[in-house]
């Protein structure tokens, strides 16, 4: 059972204004690093989804700060901080972060959809 209130869940599913977007990159060998702007948690989930062909270029500590600041979601931010410290590699951390974010979005959607 989620402890999220409806207003919190709605905020987690919202999009931040363009000026507050998170600027990340997608790493594609040998094409290079391509800028990607993220504005919602849902987009962060899609961005982090493991792919055989490219890598998300992101500092999870900064992602955690961004989530805390823009979505007031300390719980998710702390989880990301922890797994950044504990994961054996950045790729493993991104994969774990993908699960965390996806689960959080699902949870919020569950609350909003009733």
């Amino acid at each position: 059972m989620s402890t999220l209130k409806r207003t919190e869940a709605e905020r987690l599913l919202a999009e931040v204004p363009y000026r507050d977007r998170l600027r990340t990159v997608r790493m594609a060998m040998p094409s290079g690093m391509r800028p990607v702007s993220l504005r919602s948690l849902e987009e962060v989930g899609w961005f982090l989804e493991p792919s055989l062909r490219t890598l998300p270029g992101i500092r999870l500590e900064n992602l955690a700060d961004w989530i805390e600041k823009n979505f007031a979601d300390l719980e998710t931010a702390d989880k990301l901080r922890r797994l950044t410290r504990e994961s054996p590699s950045p790729a493993a951390a991104c994969k774990a972060a993908w699960s965390v974010i996806t689960a959080r979005v699902e949870e919020a959607r569950g609350v909003v959809d009733g």
């Binding site: 204004p17 363009y18 997608r26 790493m27 290079g32 702007s37 849902e42 899609w46 590699s89 790729a91």
Partner: protein, 706 residues
């Protein structure tokens, strides 16, 4: 044997579109330049009567499509590449004499038809296409072919040429020495789409489905010349000086350096030995695919799918629109895949270079979010920007860009020019519009970190797009991202790689990108080596950038790559094909001479060292705008030991970089005050023949300063 032009077809085709004539000249005089770029520069010098032009759409521009001695042979990952040179369109502040390159089978077919290069001059009175069937050449009216996209054009021409063959089902007819010859091989066609016809800066040249000479607006050059296509059919062969040596080198390359097909090492380091794998960056449409490659490639990087779209597309074109598409499709990758690959197809069909689009679209979306772009806004656009990410939107946007309408009118002469026109110059200077050098988008490697990329681009004419050194970044950083110990230590890697660069560099410090070493002579020598390597072995001999130079290779016990090796080095293939006795370093010296010839042309176009600068943000801001986690590169630490070090959070120092340029000019015998050629420097390079023209235009540099 020495006198025969082994490797060369022997003739160059001169096409004067203004006069409507075609002429053949011997390749003999141009042999010294190799092929591809060197050949193209020498031909440009001889046939372009006014080298001061700075817009490729000027009718005085001369454009060369050039094969190399390797074209049409089985030299690994070289047989199908083709070079294009001439004055470009859309660069900033000046569209330089420049280059582009594409793969496939065009250059090989050109050779089989008996031609080493095609030189296109003047402007046709009406749209035409060039029909090359072995030695027979005709300039033919394009009629209704003008206005078609590149796919339709190629299909129509294939059909027409079949019909003209006389109805033998599936067989094309060519003139042979002893009467007609027949082939089932489809003509190789290089053509433009609507973007080229409308002469927009993003107009490119397309061959087959997905081979494009993208950068520098050569599609616009053809459009300005009223040239829609060149179709080539050839039934000849390439005379190879020592076929047994060529076969032996190919086998050696396969056995010692290439991937083991049955048991590939998926953690391999080095470009030559990677397994064949499509270089596509978004989930492919499905698993039903065939490998596709340029002619003679040892490890193809393309694919064809049974769904009928996305065939042969590769690299950046499979990724630039994807973040928007994923959002539009709400994470449904299957649906997104269709849009991403159809978008790549659309670009190719319209003959549009997709390279600037990812960054360009990012900028436009920002302007729209700020309320500056939209119907009746500061930047007027009637496109439905609420639908960014959809196929519908991208079709509209690409059509607009290709036809120079709506937002396409703003950027028709280039993106930086468009920003300036819109009063948004500050966006370019600040990096908001991430176009770093020569009015071109950052390639994806920040010039504040990846030094050879930035420095080399500035001493040349365009985003240099040569990955030999850059592969260091990829193999090291991917290992660390996945938590693997790097396969090669930093110390070993720099040693193995710089051993290949000797005597141009003195030792491993040439690859030390630490802040303390970033403006050093050692790094400068590495940049010189790589520039000249690329000018000859890649751009002139047409070895594919994805596979060469092979500086390190974990398929080898000594970790030393195929480059310069005695059994499978570049020079081994060259000598087997041409019968020359060229050393690996002789090739680099040729590349240096070619670069100096190019620099003479740039000088005539008005280049001065003050123009050779990055966008301001490179000097004004640290590299930490984006969230990538680290940029590891081999560096020496304070104890003098080599380790992989994060280069993030630094910028370029203007003064120190200017000093670097001064030292570079001096080392190359150029006037350090202007960067222009000097009489003595030209003599040293055997380029005395350009001196008079430079002098006439007052473009010779001062000797006393060198």
């Amino acid at each position: 044997m020495e006198n025969k032009l082994y490797g060369f077809a022997g003739k160059i085709l001169l096409v004067d579109l203004g006069a409507g004539t075609t002429t053949a000249v011997s390749s003999e005089k141009y042999r010294q330049w190799g092929g591809g770029h060197g050949l193209g520069s020498a031909l440009f010098w001889d046939y372009c009567k006014d080298k001061t032009i700075t817009d490729g759409r000027d009718p005085k521009n001369v454009m060369v499509v050039a094969a190399s001695p390797f074209s049409g042979t089985n030299t690994p990952s070289a047989g199908g590449r083709c070079e294009v040179v001439g004055v470009g369109v859309g660069q900033y502040p000046v569209s330089w004499y420049t280059r582009s390159n594409f793969g496939g089978r065009f250059s090989a077919t050109l050779k089989y038809a008996g031609w080493d290069a095609v030189v296109v001059m003047g402007r046709a009175r009406e749209p035409v296409w060039l029909d090359i069937r072995n030695h027979e050449v005709a300039i033919r009216p394009a009629g209704k072919l003008w206005g078609t996209d590149t796919k339709t054009l190629q299909q129509k021409l294939w059909q027409r040429l079949l019909e003209e063959a006389g109805g033998m089902e599936g067989w094309y007819r060519l003139p042979g020495k002893r009467g007609p010859e027949y082939s089932t091989q489809k003509p190789a066609i290089l053509c433009i789409g609507p973007a080229g016809e409308h002469q927009v800066a993003q107009g490119c040249l397309i061959h087959d489905s997905g081979n494009g000479a993208g950068q520098c607006g050569f599609g616009a050059v053809w459009g300005s010349k009223n040239l829609k296509a060149i179709a080539v059919q050839g039934s000849g062969a390439v005379a190879v000086a020592d076929p047994a040596a060529l076969a032996a080198a190919r086998f050696a390359a396969k056995e010692h350096y290439a991937a083991d097909f049955d048991n590939p090492d998926l953690r391999h380091w080095g470009p030559f030995g990677v397994p064949a794998w499509p270089v596509i960056f978004f989930d492919q449409p499905n698993e039903h695919r065939r490998v596709q490659a340029c002619q003679g490639c040892i490890a193809g990087c393309r694919a064809r799918f049974n769904v009928g779209y996305g065939n042969e597309v590769s690299c950046q074109e499979t990724e630039w629109y994807s973040p928007h598409v994923i959002k539009w499709c709400k994470g449904d990758k299957q649906k997104a895949s269709e849009i991403v690959y159809k978008t790549a197809d659309l670009c190719n069909q319209l003959g549009l270079n997709s390279y600037p689009m990812g960054i360009g679209l990012d900028w436009l979306i920002g302007l729209r979010e700020e309320g500056r772009l939209g119907p009746g806004k500061e930047i007027d656009s009637k496109l439905d920007w609420d639908k960014v990410g959809s196929l519908e939107f991208i079709r509209e946007l690409l059509e607009a860009l290709a036809r120079g309408e709506d937002i396409g009118a703003l950027v028709a002469d280039g993106w930086v020019q468009g920003a300036i026109k819109a009063g948004r110059e500050a966006d370019w200077r600040s990096g908001k519009l991430l176009f770093t050098y020569w009015g071109m988008p950052e390639h994806g490697y920040d010039s504040r970190l990846e030094l050879e990329w930035g420095y080399e681009t500035l001493i040349c004419d365009r985003d240099m797009n040569s990955h030999s050194i850059n592969f260091i970044f990829w193999f090291v950083n991917i290992s660390v991202i996945y938590g693997f110990k790097p396969r090669i230590s930093a110390e070993k890697l720099v040693k193995v790689a710089t051993d290949k660069m000797k005597p141009w560099v003195s030792g491993p410090e040439a690859l030390d990108y630490a802040t303390a070493n970033m403006y050093s002579d050692a790094v400068m020598d590495m940049v010189r080596w790589h520039t000249f390597y690329s000018r000859f072995w890649k751009n002139s001999c047409l070895l594919c950038d994805f596979r060469w130079a092979d500086l390190f290779n974990t398929n080898r016990p000594d970790l030393s790559g195929a480059t310069a090796s005695e059994t499978a080095g570049e020079q081994v293939f060259w000598n087997a094909v041409t019968g020359e006795h060229l050393s690996f370093n002789d090739g680099i010296a040729r590349g240096r001479r070619i670069w100096h010839l190019d620099n003479a042309i740039w000088a005539l176009q008005g280049r001065h060292r003050d123009m050779m600068v990055f966008a301001d943000y490179v000097y004004d801001k640290d590299c930490d705008t984006f969230e990538f986690p680290f940029y590891l590169w081999p560096c020496r630490n304070s104890a003098g030991e080599w380790e992989y070090t994060d280069l993030l959070h630094r910028r370029l120092d203007r003064e120190k970089f200017e000093d670097w340029k001064t030292r570079f000019f001096k080392k190359e015998g150029l006037d350090p005050g202007s960067g222009r050629p000097t009489r003595a420097g030209l003599k040293e390079q055997g380029l005395e023949f350009v001196t008079a023209e430079l002098e006439r235009h007052k473009c010779l540099g001062r000797e006393d300063k060198v």
